[in-house]
């Protein structure tokens, strides 16, 4: 199994740019296993390293300010959002 690729099942590093984040909560509603909206109204990853999933890719792509990045834990290659 390869690490990269949306929903491929590898391990990914999830990062939220908390300055950019405007707290829509769309990511937490989309991937509740990986992301949550903190008490300060900013999203955060529940764990720095998570299993890649379609929901996580969707959460990163749905963010209206592109504050979320999902990278392969092994290679650092960006998995989502993809351009």
């Amino acid at each position: 199994m390869t690490a990269a690729g949306p929903g491929a099942g590898g391990e990914v590093r999830v990062e939220v740019d908390r300055i950019r984040c405007v707290g829509t909560g769309l990511c937490a509603a989309t991937a509740p296993d990986a992301l949550e909206l903190g008490a300060d109204g900013r999203a955060r990853a529940l764990r720095a390293i998570a299993a890649d999933s379609e929901e996580l890719t969707e959460a990163a792509e749905m963010c209206p300010v592109e504050a979320i990045s999902v990278r392969s834990a092994a290679t650092g290659e960006q998995v989502a959002p993809r351009w």
Partner: protein, 401 residues
């Protein structure tokens, strides 16, 4: 018709939006809406952000049976079926359906097309003048052309659209009956569109919304119709306003910046963010901020806001908070750092933010590139303003070169 403000000997000229004074950011304070309803006015960047993102403050409770009067004459923002006025998981479900069409990547696909529309409008403007009314030639045309194409509304009578839009965001320009009548007609139009695109889907936004909603389930026909109408209005009124007011600012105050915007697309992109932060959409006397209501006691900026209280989140003041942004005349080409609150924050953050940015950036860049010597043909004091709406922008803007 909206009441155009004609400056005369008895009426002092209205000042341009970028010259309006904002409230000094500070702790929440008590104020009143034009209806007399008491509100907590929230002005600091961190506090405005909290009000907009904290689930203890919401939109739906503004329309509960016990809610105080918010608008002298209600308009489209007061529609309880709208996405804006729903909250929580129900709202998130619908919002996710729509959001797919508005992600930065989805919007980027429209760039070549938006770019070609701007090229055509700018070429026509140049051929028609000087002088030319930049509102009729560009700022009114561009957003209508873009949203019409996105929603496949080609052939729609632009005057009819403008009529609905003016009523939809009216503050004092029309009576309650006039607004209700126009909104009924607009709603019938929206519903017909939903029914039609369900039967004959195309590759437009309305078709994809109907398909997504029907697949996801649980979105009522009323919500879907309200969404379609909301997109038509939101898609053009605010962009037209921002583009018109940005032209007033640049051509009146900063023509060096104008030339740089024309010379460098990246400079145009940075300037768009700063202009969005700097210039308000309307007068604070009409609406002091984005409204929410506390559903339980909540502390904002050290002040206890009791359950049931109405809060006005003043993004204009927050966008000038000295704790976040440098004071004084803005450097239009400096990166913004912290996002401005012009598009709001929290669950109701503006759906069309990326589309608006793209239209503004391309509109300003291409006009400035073609006409680096563009100037206002009349003094700024003689500008006629569209009035009686939630937004304020030039009714006409005579430019020359």
């Amino acid at each position: 018709m909206t009441t155009a403000h004609h400056p005369g000997p008895d009426t002092p000229p209205l000042i341009p939006l970028h010259c309006l004074r904002h409230v000094e950011p500070g702790p929440p304070r008590q104020a009143a809406l034009p209806t007399g309803t008491a509100v907590w006015l929230v002005t600091r960047h961190a506090d405005v952000r909290q009000v907009l993102a904290d689930p203890r403050l919401n939109r739906a409770s503004l329309y509960a049976a016990d809610a105080p009067r918010l608008m002298v004459t209600p308009n489209i923002l007061d529609d309880p079926a709208s996405l804006l006025n729903s909250d929580g998981p129900e709202h998130q479900r619908i919002r996710r359906t729509v959001q797919r069409a508005f992600t930065p990547r989805a919007i980027e696909r429209w760039r070549p097309w938006v770019s070609s529309v701007v090229d055509e409008l700018v070429a026509d403007l140049v051929a028609a003048g000087p002088p030319v009314d930049a509102v009729a030639a560009l700022t009114r045309q561009l957003p209508v052309a873009v949203i019409s194409r996105l929603m496949a509304l080609e052939g729609l009578d632009h005057e009819r659209l403008a009529h609905w839009s003016d009523h939809a965001l009216s503050a004092t320009a029309y009576s309650a009956e006039e607004i209700a009548g126009a909104m009924r007609e607009f709603g019938a139009f929206g519903h017909q569109l939903v029914v039609e695109r369900r039967k004959n889907p195309g590759d437009d936004l309305v078709s994809s919304l109907v398909q997504a909603a029907d697949q996801t389930g649980g979105v009522t026909e009323e919500q879907l119709t309200s969404l379609v109408c909301g997109l038509v209005v939101a898609g053009h009124e605010t962009t037209m306003t921002t583009l018109g007011n940005a032209l007033v600012y640049l051509l009146d105050e900063d023509r060096a910046a104008w030339r740089r915007i024309g010379a460098d697309p990246e400079a145009a992109s940075a300037a768009t963010e700063q202009l969005l932060r700097e210039i308000p959409l309307g007068d604070r006397e009409v609406l002091p901020g984005l409204l929410r209501r506390a559903v339980e006691d909540v502390e904002i900026g050290g002040v206890l806001i009791p359950a049931g209280a109405v809060v006005a989140a003043d993004a204009v003041s927050a966008n000038h908070d000295p704790l976040v942004y440098p004071e004084g005349t803005p450097d239009l080409f400096a990166p913004l750092g912290t996002p401005s609150l012009t598009f709001g924050a929290g669950p109701h953050h503006c759906l069309g933010a990326w589309l608006a940015r793209m239209e503004l950036e391309l509109g300003l860049h291409k006009l400035a590139r073609r006409l680096p010597g563009l100037r206002l043909a009349l003094p700024v004091e003689e500008i006629e303003w569209r009035q009686g709406l939630l937004t304020r922008s030039p009714q006409r803007l005579e430019v020359s070169w």
